[in-house]
Symmetry: C2
């Protein structure tokens, strides 16, 4: 099956969690909005009257007759089909639980630079962003990193849900990569406390298909448009 991914064409954003899964599996997919006239196709699906259940926002995935939105829901669907989810229902629920925790974390990272409104520019909420980012770095970032470190420690395996990699492992890689870009000083100060998380990041980055993807032009750069944004004034003070 050829999957069609719909997401903003110039940022990693939430779509990247889906791209990583598709790329790691070597799946046949089209990143629709990055193709000519692709943005118009995405807008038609978002604003048109045709899908039975419209997406609230990108990313969304077309898989044959299905149109699936919400990042974690797309991964719930793709996981077993791409060999990135365990077999049993119990284990799949565990992976999904971890993915939903990543989703909460992503929303908090976004709000470090947009604590008041997504519709306003960063510059219009800069003062509030400094306060929110300081709290995020002091309390929430260690809490999330510590949680995943603990999950890896209790599992005692190479990946979050066992020996084999799941889509949640790819997502945790992306969190570390994005946080290093956005908050280099804070991450440099914290990482030694979370050796299992860092090792997992490295293990995922070294997966052959993923390594090729990360080195390719298909991997968009982090920038000041996505979830992870580098504003030095929001990072830990020097």
């Amino acid at each position: 099956m050829r999957y069609e991914l719909y997401y903003w064409p110039s940022i990693q954003g939430r779509g990247e969690f889906v791209r990583l899964a598709l790329e790691d599996a070597g799946a046949d997919y089209v990143d629709v909005a990055r193709r000519p006239r692709g943005m118009a196709a995405m807008t038609r699906l978002l604003e048109g009257r045709s899908p039975r259940l419209p997406p609230f926002a990108p990313p969304f995935l077309r898989a044959g007759e299905l149109l699936i939105a919400q990042t974690a829901n797309i991964l719930l669907y793709l996981g077993p089909r791409l060999g990135l989810a365990p077999r049993s229902e119990a284990a799949r629920l565990r992976v999904h639980q971890l993915q939903l925790t990543v989703a909460d974390w992503v929303a908090e990272v976004h709000d470090t630079h947009h604590p008041i409104a997504s519709s306003l520019h960063y510059e219009e909420q800069k003062r509030e962003a400094r306060r929110r980012a300081a709290s995020f770095l002091a309390e929430r970032l260690p809490k999330f990193l510590g949680y995943f470190e603990e999950v890896l420690a209790r599992g005692g395996q190479a990946h979050l849900a066992g020996k084999a990699a799941s889509y949640a492992d790819l997502s945790l890689f992306q969190m570390v990569a994005g946080l290093r870009y956005a908050f280099p000083r804070a991450m440099a100060g914290l990482e030694s406390r979370y050796p299992r998380v860092v090792a997992l990041h490295d293990r995922v980055a070294a997966r052959p298909r993923l390594a090729r993807y990360l080195a390719s032009r298909r991997r968009l750069r982090f920038s000041r448009q996505g979830i992870f944004r580098h504003y030095p004034e929001l990072d830990r003070p020097k």
Copy 2:
């Protein structure tokens, strides 16, 4: 099977989305932390070393051998078992997509009164809360209500995912109920634009088991401790 729900004993919060499903189905369950010594049991599971996969936060559900966290994930598990999810995988993904959109909405409602940090009191972020709440009421609240109105309009059925109620319908009921409590002036001004959403709220509230639950002492009151909080200064100006 007797389910054990673990959630803060004095608020509706995110746990209420699970309580509504259990109550609507007449399921056999214990609201553990509301029992004597229940808080200690919840803390042990959160902070102890025993569960293979610890929850990041309440709510979580014990179902036999399973310990499931993340509200939407709990509902994904319970839905088919409580008769609150459709049969096909495609339809279940649609319901889950809607639930995840509710989850995003819940987080935004929470942040209207806590835009800077959950660890700070409301009074310590009141100025920022006024700005965030104003943006929420002007832009996000109509967007979410309009989205669910459109889903109901396109479906053309009594419930979000067809003729039968699903856990997403119960959750949309809870959103309307909570928003009416938190933002009575804003909701009074908006509701006439979303007749299908309001009708769905009423239809859910009239379900026999749910109506009995809502009238019982098991239904905690909305308060200034939960997700939905009534601060008149955050509501639409008179």
